[in-house]
C-alpha cells in the first residue's frame, strides 16, 4: 500500500469535481469502486439510505445508466445539455487508515446548475469515503448533504 498524502487526497477531490464540470462523466463514473455509491440524503444527519427516503442513492449500475442517458439521442430534457459548476472550499481529511488504505474527506461546496435561461444555486457538504485499489484512489461512497435537502427543489440533472 502506497502512502497517500493529504495533498493527494485533496487533489483527487478537486479533480473529481473538474471531471463533472467538464462533462467527462464516463471518466467520473469510473472513479467509483465496483460497489461504490453516490448518496444524496433527504434529511440532515440521515444514517439509513435504504429504509429512509433519499434524493439519490445510486450504485455503479444506476450511475452508468444515468451517464449513458445524459448523452442519449432521445434524451429530450438534455437538448440542450445541462451545464454545472463546482466551487469547492479546501477539502479536509477527517479520517485516515493507512493500513487499510481508507480515507474520509469533507468538502463544503457551492454548486450551480444551468440549462437554457434557468440557473440554480445549491450549497452543501460532500463527504468522500476513498479507498486505495491497485495503486489508485477510488470512491467508495460520495455523500452529498444539501443545505436545503428538504426544500421544494427544482430538477437536479447532474452530480454535485
Amino acid at each position: 500500500m502506497n502512502t497517500i498524502t493529504d495533498a493527494q487526497l485533496i487533489d483527487f477531490i478537486y479533480r473529481e469535481a473538474e471531471l463533472i464540470d467538464a462533462l467527462q462523466l464516463q471518466d467520473w463514473e469510473a472513479l467509483f469502486t465496483d460497489d461504490g455509491h453516490y448518496w444524496m440524503p433527504l434529511t440532515h444527519g440521515q444514517t439509513d439510505p435504504i429504509l429512509q427516503g433519499s434524493l439519490m442513492y445510486e450504485d455503479k449500475m444506476l450511475l452508468k445508466i444515468r451517464v449513458e442517458r445524459f448523452f442519449g439521442k432521445r434524451t429530450f430534457s438534455q437538448q440542450p445539455h445541462t451545464r454545472c459548476h463546482h466551487l469547492l472550499q479546501a477539502p479536509r481529511v477527517i479520517a485516515r487508515d493507512d493500513t487499510a488504505g481508507t480515507y474520509r474527506c469533507r468538502t463544503a461546496f457551492h454548486y450551480v446548475e444551468t440549462r437554457l435561461d434557468e440557473q440554480s444555486l445549491f450549497a452543501g457538504w460532500a463527504t468522500h469515503d476513498l479507498v486505495q485499489q491497485g495503486g489508485q484512489l477510488r470512491i467508495q461512497l460520495k455523500r452529498v448533504d444539501l443545505l436545503n435537502c428538504d426544500a421544494a427543489l427544482p430538477n437536479i440533472q447532474l452530480f454535485m
Binding site: L51, G53, E68, G72, S77, N155, Q157
Partner: protein
C-alpha cells in the same frame, strides 16, 4: 374585468367533447377560479392519520392554495383548521409537523386556540370588554373546515360547507385505497421515509393528465427506462435482476401492453390505468410477504388482493396513487404555471422491510427532483406550458378512442388502456365543479 368570473357558460365552453381550450392551462384568471371553486367544491386530500397519531399532533399543508393545519383533537378526532389567526391573519402553525399540546398559540399576540379552532384566551382581555368582540368574526377562533372525512386513515376535506357528499364524490374509486390498505397484513398503512418535494413550472393539470397517458412512456422514457433495459440485456446470463431494473424496464413496454392493460373511469373525474395488469404486475416476490398475507386473510382473499395491480389512480382533482408500490403523489397548485409535487411513501404495517425498500427506491428513481424519468416528463410539461401560448392553435386534443356514446355517469367503465377517456372524464368533472354554484352575471348589461 376577467372573461370567466361569474360566467359559467364561458367556462363550460372550454371543455368540448374531445378537446380542451388552452386557457384552462395558461389563463391566470381561471387558475384563481380553480382555487375559489374547483378546490372548494371537491373533496381534496389533506393528509394521513399516521402523521398525527397522538393528541395535539399536527401537520400543515395546503388545500388548493389555502394554508390549513390537520390536527389530532383532544377527543382523538382529526380536525382540519384554516391555518390563520383570526386577529391579524398570521399563519399560526409554521412547522410542517409537530405537537402543539392542548392549544395553538399565535406567535404575534399570543391568542390561543383549542385544537378544534375555538378561541381559548387573549392576553390583557380587559381591553376587549364592551367592545363587541363577541359579535366579531374573530371570536370564532381559527375557522374549522366543516366537511372533513377520514377514509381508512386518508383525510380529505371539502372547503365549501355545502356540496357533494364524500361517498357520492368518490363512489367505487375508493377501491384503490382499499387495495393499498389491504396489502398490509394488519390492514394499516404508515407514512414513512420522508417526502420528496419538487417544483414543475407548469399547470397542475398537466401532471394529472400524464398519470393515465399510456402512449408517452415508450417515447418520453426511452432515454431512461430504455437505457436501463439495454444495460440489463447485456448482463451475463444468470445475473439476478436488480430491483432498479424491475422498476425501470416496464416503462418501455410496447403499445400493445398498455392497450391491454386497460383503463377504468368513475364519475367525478376519478379513474385509473391498469385494470387487469399493469407495469407493476411483475415485480419479484418478497420473501415472507405472501405467507404473512395468507395468514392474515386466507389463501383466496390474499390472492385477490395481490392480483389487483393498478397502475396510477387519479383521485380528482390532484391526488394520484400507486397501490402495488405503495406510493402517492399530491400535485399542489401554486400558480397557473407552477406546481409543487410531493412524493409520499407508505409502509405496509406487518410486511417485510424489503417492500418499503422498493417503495422508497421507486420514488427516488421515478418521482423525484433527481429522477431521470421525471426529468423527461417535466421537460414536456414545461415545453407545453410555454408553447400553448402560441396563437397558432387554441385547443388541446383528447380524441384518442373517443366514442360519442361513451358513458358519462356509469358507476364504472372499463376500456382500452390507451383511451384518453380519463382525461376527458377529468375535464368534464372540471367543468362541473368549476361552475356548480357559480353565480351568473349578465354580460354587457351595465352601460
Amino acid at each position: 374585468m376577467g372573461r370567466y368570473a361569474n360566467n359559467p357558460a364561458a367556462i363550460r365552453a372550454l371543455v368540448r367533447e374531445s378537446e380542451v381550450h388552452k386557457d384552462t392551462y395558461i389563463d391566470a384568471e381561471l387558475f384563481e377560479l380553480e382555487m375559489e371553486h374547483l378546490f372548494a367544491n371537491t373533496w381534496v386530500y389533506v393528509g394521513h392519520a399516521s402523521q398525527v397519531p397522538n393528541k395535539g399532533d399536527f401537520y400543515t399543508t395546503t388545500v388548493g392554495t389555502e394554508p390549513v393545519v390537520m390536527v389530532r383533537h383532544s377527543d382523538d378526532s382529526i380536525r382540519v383548521l384554516f391555518n390563520r389567526c383570526p386577529h391579524k391573519g398570521v399563519k399560526v402553525a409554521a412547522e410542517t409537523c409537530g405537537n402543539t399540546g392542548k392549544f395553538f398559540r399565535c406567535p404575534y399576540h399570543a391568542w390561543t386556540f383549542k385544537t378544534d379552532g375555538s378561541l381559548l384566551s387573549i392576553p390583557l382581555k380587559k381591553g376587549y370588554e364592551n367592545t363587541g368582540l363577541e359579535c366579531c368574526e374573530a371570536s370564532g377562533g381559527m375557522a374549522a373546515v366543516q366537511a372533513v372525512h377520514v377514509y381508512r386513515d386518508f383525510v380529505f376535506c371539502r372547503l365549501n360547507p355545502e356540496g357533494v357528499s364524500f361517498d357520492a364524490f368518490f363512489g367505487q374509486s375508493l377501491s384503490t385505497i382499499d387495495n393499498m390498505v389491504d396489502r398490509s397484513p394488519e390492514g394499516k398503512l404508515q407514512i414513512v421515509g420522508g417526502v420528496l418535494r419538487y417544483i414543475n413550472r407548469c399547470n397542475w393539470k398537466m401532471l394529472v393528465d400524464n398519470q393515465t397517458d399510456t402512449t408517452h412512456p415508450m417515447v418520453a422514457h426511452e432515454s431512461s427506462a430504455g437505457t436501463a433495459a439495454a444495460a440489463w440485456a447485456k448482463a451475463p446470463p444468470g445475473t439476478p435482476k436488480p430491483m432498479a431494473v424491475e422498476v425501470f424496464t416496464p416503462f418501455v413496454s410496447p403499445y400493445e401492453f398498455f392497450e391491454e392493460m386497460g383503463i377504468r373511469v368513475w364519475p367525478n373525474g376519478h379513474g385509473h390505468t391498469g385494470v387487469g395488469k399493469s407495469i407493476h404486475s411483475d415485480y419479484s416476490d418478497i420473501p415472507g410477504y405472501q405467507e404473512a398475507m395468507v395468514t392474515a386473510y386466507g389463501e383466496e382473499r390474499a390472492h385477490a388482493i395481490l392480483s389487483e395491480n393498478r397502475h396510477n389512480t387519479i383521485y380528482f382533482p390532484n391526488l394520484t396513487m400507486k397501490g402495488p408500490v405503495q406510493t402517492m403523489r399530491v400535485f399542489k397548485p401554486i400558480a397557473v404555471d407552477k406546481t409543487l409535487v410531493e412524493s409520499w411513501a407508505f409502509r405496509l404495517v406487518g410486511a417485510p422491510d424489503l417492500l418499503l425498500e422498493r417503495t422508497l427506491m421507486y420514488n427516488r428513481l421515478i418521482n423525484a427532483p433527481t429522477s431521470v424519468v421525471a426529468h423527461d416528463d417535466t421537460e414536456v410539461y414545461e415545453r407545453a406550458q410555454e408553447a400553448l401560448h402560441s396563437r397558432g392553435r387554441d385547443w388541446m386534443n383528447l380524441c384518442r378512442l373517443y366514442d360519442a356514446g361513451e358513458p358519462r355517469d356509469a358507476a364504472h367503465f372499463e376500456t382500452n388502456g390507451t383511451n384518453e377517456l380519463q382525461m376527458r372524464n377529468q375535464m368534464r368533472a372540471w367543468a362541473h365543479y368549476m361552475t356548480v354554484g357559480m353565480s351568473e352575471q349578465p354580460q354587457g348589461s351595465a352601460t
